[in-house]
Symmetry: C2
Subunit: 180 residues, 2 copies
């Protein structure tokens, strides 16, 4: 590995749980760094829930020092109150990223599934399975953590395409270490 890695933080915001995944991109190779999820308590007040998200994402950035961030475009729920809470969680997550001057890239769930599984209609379990395969993980990350890693991998594939390199990723074995 002659190149310095590009460290990518992937975020999958949710109203109750925000998944995250950190990977290093060494030229054509992606290596697992960390993943986990940030849980908020639905009955807590909004400020408390927003505080948990923004402080934890800040901590993750301080710990792992990513240079790029990828965020999943959230699903617009049929329930307006749920959509509002999802929006609030996502706004707080993006605020934490921009406050630390990270460039933010957005990908729809469809783009993530197509990039990771190869088809847009993939089930959650297939995303989890492919993340384990692609990063050669020794364990299966929790669903939201896998979604965080999946959006980071989506960006890695796009980033490589954007930078004119081959888009096929070579992925190094990584040890699964969950932050939470």
């Amino acid at each position: 590995m002659t190149q310095a890695p590009v460290r990518i933080l992937g975020i999958d915001p949710g109203s109750r749980s925000t998944g995250f995944g950190v990977i290093d991109l060494y030229g054509r190779e992606a290596v697992y760094v960390a993943s986990g999820c940030i849980k908020t308590i639905p009955k807590d007040e909004l400020a408390g829930r927003i505080g948990i998200i923004v402080h934890h994402i800040g901590e993750i950035i301080d710990t792992y020092q990513p240079v790029q961030a990828a965020v999943e475009k959230v699903f617009v729920n049929v329930n307006p109150a749920a959509t509002l809470m999802l929006g609030q969680a996502r706004g707080a997550a993006v605020a934490a990223l921009v406050l630390r001057d990270l460039p933010v890239y957005e990908y729809t769930a469809l783009q993530v599934k197509q990039a990771v599984v190869g088809k847009g209609k993939a089930a959650k379990e297939q995303v989890q399975h492919m993340v384990v395969e692609m990063l050669k993980l020794s364990g299966t990350p929790q669903e939201d953590a896998a979604d965080g890693l999946a959006v980071a991998l989506t960006h890695a594939l796009r980033y490589k395409t954007l930078s004119g390199q081959k888009s096929a990723l070579n992925i190094k074995r990584g040890r699964l270490q969950s932050l939470s």
Copy 2:
């Protein structure tokens, strides 16, 4: 005025414009400090829009040093995409408040209208008019700025009730100075 004032920041989040108002509460008297609105460009990317909100609210807090914050509970729109954007703007605004350790109080539009106009079905113009009357302003603040001041005044009335004092506010004449 023997007491140190309680400085309150009121925020009315919106998907395109976030109104704010700052007032000082001296015992039973409320004095206008500042108001304005933070506008984002709808065609800009989310990270840019979130950045404008979170940086500007941070700047307002650093400039005016409020000790309490009141945020209007947003209207859940029938359009899910609009509700999501409203949620994102609100999440970013609350993130900026909690990152500076401000206690956050929430009031519904109904509570704000009842507190300021005296009835829950008041029009926007009535809120504007009553804010001018209550703070004895020399000019009429822009609609979103008036909503920011209205939510700050709502909290002031509640705060006084909570602290066991008379809830009738005596409001000092203030000069209208818009930050933006």
